[in-house]
């Protein structure tokens, strides 16, 4: 676990220089073969209590048992492979939705179809010294969302639950 494989494999005269992260828990005690996310080189590793007891040893021609979850290239502006990049990194399945963003989800309507202020930027709307009243004047502040809401109402997409 808790180690990285900094791949130094030379391919076409260029050193791979990809850092493959062996994430904690999964690799804490682990033996098997793992690929580099960039060049696909397969390494055998045997980790005990987080230490590389054996490896990484190249195993040319063999299939990996597992892929890293994440890898990046610090010498190339930190280009990276997110989890689940096909053939390079393994997917991370235990997620809250089938899509994964990792950045703010711009939401205008709750799951029952009513407006919720989950998107930005919001137009300025405070009074003196940052004061706010107890009203969201959506019609004035975000007329396009208000319109969309009226459409939803008409189409019956606004529900109680």
């Amino acid at each position: 676990m808790c180690d990285i494989i900094w791949c130094k494999k030379e391919i076409d005269g260029k050193i791979c220089n990809t850092v493959n992260y062996l994430d904690p828990y999964c690799f804490w005690n682990w033996e098997g073969k793992i690929n580099c996310a960039e060049c696909g080189t397969v390494y055998y590793i045997h980790m005990i209590q987080g230490f590389m007891y054996k490896g990484p040893e190249e195993r040319p021609g063999e299939e990996p048992d597992i892929m890293p979850l994440y890898a990046d290239k610090p010498l190339d502006g930190y280009d990276n492979y997110l989890p689940g990049t096909e053939g390079r990194t393994r997917p991370y399945n235990c997620l809250p939705r089938h899509i994964y963003l990792g950045r703010a989800d711009m939401v205008k309507f709750s799951i029952r179809g009513r407006p919720v202020r989950g998107w930005c930027p919001q137009p300025p709307c405070s009074g003196i010294a940052g004061s706010h009243g107890f009203k969201w004047d959506i019609q004035k502040l975000s007329p396009e969302v208000w319109e969309e809401y009226q459409e939803k109402l008409k189409k019956g997409e606004v529900k109680e639950w």
Binding site: C2, Y21, D23, Y25, L69, D72, R97, Y100, D105, I111
Partner: protein, 496 residues
């Protein structure tokens, strides 16, 4: 005087039990830090006066010299099996209320529970030799113990008379059971309009998913509450970190946690109701608190998140998906927890690690994706940060890592087991666990009340769980004027 040396022979686990007793191995094993050592800590941060003021005004040891906040409050506790009623009653008792715990003549089944069924870990009543489980003893604090069989007509009359004169009644029986016997809130509030009556349960005493009994009468117990409110689903390691069936599964709390949450919220609702009664209305009221719901109340944003965009919280093991850093990871001799989310703290953690492991700075601090506080909570950011943090931790013992991180004023701490908790210098000094020399069960190590550190009315533990019916004669005499021959007679009839 040096302790006397003696030869011992150990052939089985039983032979070791006596060797561990508090007489031979007193707590604490090593003495706590001295006040002088602690004063030096205050001085380092120029808080000498303030530190002294705190110790002079808040010290645990002074609590018995101070008044009790709830002095004069009378409470009945009527519940079996679960810890909600016990914890609630203990909180009230620790704050000074007079609490009477009523059990059926055969006793609360919780008395019989002991880890892995091992009777040798139960405590024996010095007088009767009767054994009682540690969970029961530890959780029934400052409560008198009486017995009463409310399934008899006479028992119910006695129960009503007791209830006429109390401020609070805590009940934890199956839904509608007391009402059916004619001694529920509906009936008792007529006899005592000022009564604050609190039912505690797992999912509810009413509603389509209320508490059930099995066909054979078995009760619903924790962790059914945690399973109903998504706590269990959301806790544990994901199969992406550990194989399913081998640690990568939804996981319950090691303790009956929802019971504790229900108990403390019940105690809060009860005090709020008393405040309203005494300040405004003179009226009592009915309260219902459940483990599933009161734990749902504190499930962060989980259900609300589903309402936002249909997200269903997934488990993330020992990492928190909302803050970075905020996790524990394995180290040389266990697990090390590190926390620090704002830029100020996050970079300090990095500086600390970088000192031993320069590559950390190269890969973490220079990565543009990790520069913004919110963005650091992305999954890939957690994977990267924690892989490299653990790369550092694998070379360190917990204490080494803690010392290094504390130098940088990081909130960090090792996972401690109970023996380590009991000997941790700070915990011994305050103290957090403490011993009580009980008349029935000998010396007991217990977790102190966290509300013990108060200037005027600190809460305190006066005694732990009692043998069944220990206070029958006293309470029946004092509360109902029933003499011992009457009590004995009722005992023979199976009423008491």
């Amino acid at each position: 005087m040096a302790p006397e040396k003696r030869e011992i022979e150990i052939n089985s686990r039983e032979d070791t039990l006596d060797l561990m007793s508090p007489d031979i191995r007193p707590w604490p094993v090593t003495p706590p830090p001295s006040p002088e050592e602690v004063a030096a800590v205050y001085a380092k941060r120029k808080a000498t006066d303030f530190g002294k003021w705190c110790e002079d005004n808040l010290r645990f040891e002074y609590s018995f010299g101070k008044p009790e906040a709830l002095q004069g409050l009378k409470v009945l506790c009527m519940g079996l099996w679960r810890l909600g009623n016990k914890f609630c009653a203990s909180l009230l008792g620790e704050a000074g209320a007079e609490v009477i715990n009523i059990e059926p003549p055969e006793g609360d089944p919780l008395r019989k529970l002991t880890p892995f069924g091992r009777e040798e870990y139960m405590l024996e009543d010095k007088e009767t030799g009767e054994k009682c489980g540690l969970e029961f003893i530890h959780e029934m604090r400052n409560q008198y113990s009486i017995t009463l069989n409310i399934e008899t007509e006479e028992g119910r009359e006695i129960y009503k008379n007791l209830a006429k004169n109390v401020d609070v009644l805590i009940e934890e029986y199956p839904p509608g059971y007391m009402d059916e016997l004619g001694v529920g809130y509906r009936q008792l509030s007529k006899l005592n309009p000022g009564l604050v009556y609190c039912w505690i349960g797992v999912r509810g005493s009413w509603g389509p998913y209320k508490d059930k009994l099995s066909k054979f009468g078995q009760w619903t117990l924790e962790p059914f509450g945690g399973c109903a409110n998504s706590f269990v689903h959301n806790t544990g390691f994901p199969p992406d970190q550990l194989p399913r069936g081998k640690g990568g599964d939804p996981t319950r709390s090691g303790v009956w946690f929802a019971d504790y949450v229900a108990g403390e919220q019940a105690a809060c609702s009860i005090l709020a109701a008393l405040y309203w009664r005494d300040e405004f209305s003179g009226e009592g009221q009915f309260i219902e608190v459940t483990g599933a719901e009161s734990q749902m109340d504190i499930l962060d944003f989980d259900i609300g998140w589903y309402g936002f965009n249909g997200s269903i919280k997934a488990r993330t093991g020992a990492w928190d998906p909302n803050l970075n850093q905020y996790e524990w990871n394995p180290c040389k001799d266990g697990y090390m927890m590190i926390g620090g989310q704002t830029d100020r703290l996050w970079y300090r953690i990095g500086m600390c690690i970088e000192r031993d492991y320069p590559q950390f700075g190269r890969l973490i601090h220079e990565d543009p994706l990790l520069k913004e506080m919110g963005a650091r909570n992305a999954l890939q950011a957690l994977i990267k940060t924690y892989t490299l943090t653990t790369r550092w931790l694998r070379d360190l013992n917990r204490i080494e890592a803690e010392q290094k991180l504390l130098e940088y004023e990081i909130a960090a701490g090792p996972i401690l087991f109970i023996d380590e908790v009991a000997e941790f210098p700070h915990f011994k000094y305050r103290p957090w666990v403490y011993t009580i020399d009980s008349d029935q069960y000998g010396t007991i190590l217990y977790s102190a009340s966290p509300n013990s550190f108060q200037m005027r009315t600190p809460h305190r533990v006066k005694w732990m769980g009692r043998p069944l019916g220990k206070d029958n004669y006293e309470i029946y005499q004092k509360w109902l004027g029933m003499g011992q021959s009457q009590v004995n007679e009722l005992k023979d009839k199976g009423v008491i």
